[in-house]
Amino acid sequence: MEFKVFDLGLVDFYRAWNFQKEIFQKVKNGSLESGLIFCRHYPVITLGRLADKRNILLSRQELTKRDIAVYEIERGGDVTYHGPGQLVAYPVFNLARRKKDIRLFLRELEGIAIASLAEFGIEAARLKGLTGVWVGKAKIVSIGIAIRKWISFHGLSLNIEKNDLGNFRLIRPCGMDIEMTSLETILGRKAEFALLKKCMARKFKEAMQ
């Protein structure tokens, strides 16, 4: 499957959400086979469809004070946080051209993240019964998707910088008490976004062949 890569850079969640919908329409009407959107977000908390609002541990006023927006969105999963220290990838893929299997696609996304992290010498893995990617017992990649007409959107976020991790304490990520980690935490040095993006785009390409 071919896909076009878009790089939005550091972007407001709402803008990137709208951009996803634009790309979705193009994939739906056939003017684009599939698209892969990379971006980073300003601090934002998003609630998936079955999210429990109690998993946000701060009041809306407190969050506003800290300049953290909150959106209820159509992806699966509970609550998550996004910030500038994460790389976010939104695959807007026409799954009808591959296999109509939601769980398989989730496992593929995990596989892509695991293969990308391996390029940085990090041994990451799946945890049985849970979606996402983990290093030891700490989570490094969060995943939540939506599928309409067998076209996917939303996707995965990979923690790169450790500065952002503190904001995960404002929520119970995915409704669980879990520890989050980042590339920087594990490597003990800064990792380049550009390098990771390039690497992940390649792994997406390999996986979608």
């Binding site: 998936g48 469809r49 079955l50 159509e74 992806r75 699966g76 999963g77 296999k99 109509k100 299997d101 939601i102 769980r103 398989l104 696609f105 989730l106 979606t131 995943i143 939540g144 998707i145 939506a146 599928i147 309409r148 007409k149």
Partner: protein, 81 residues
């Protein structure tokens, strides 16, 4: 009358949770209109209406978890004009 059935969603997915009905009982729907949104643990998806007509009875409501193969609702297909 046509039954709206929760289809196979791929290996390992045995159930899904109703997250949103796009129509109310009695409302007119067209075949392939998005009828209901469902959620599994990390994904959401829409089920299109299998027929044109009026949404008959809804058996499962928002927040209910439903096994694959279960009938979610009925579509009362319109009589010939």
């Amino acid at each position: 009358m046509t039954k709206v059935v929760l289809p196979e969603l791929g290996e390992g997915i045995e159930k899904a949770t109703i997250s949103y009905w796009y129509f109310k009982e009695g409302e007119k729907v067209n075949e392939r209109d998005d009828l209901v949104e469902l959620a599994t643990d990390k994904a959401t998806f829409n089920l299109p209406s299998p027929a044109s007509g009026a949404l008959g009875q809804i058996f499962f409501h928002e927040g209910d978890t439903v096994p694959v193969g279960e009938v979610l609702a009925t579509i009362d297909t319109l009589d010939k004009a």
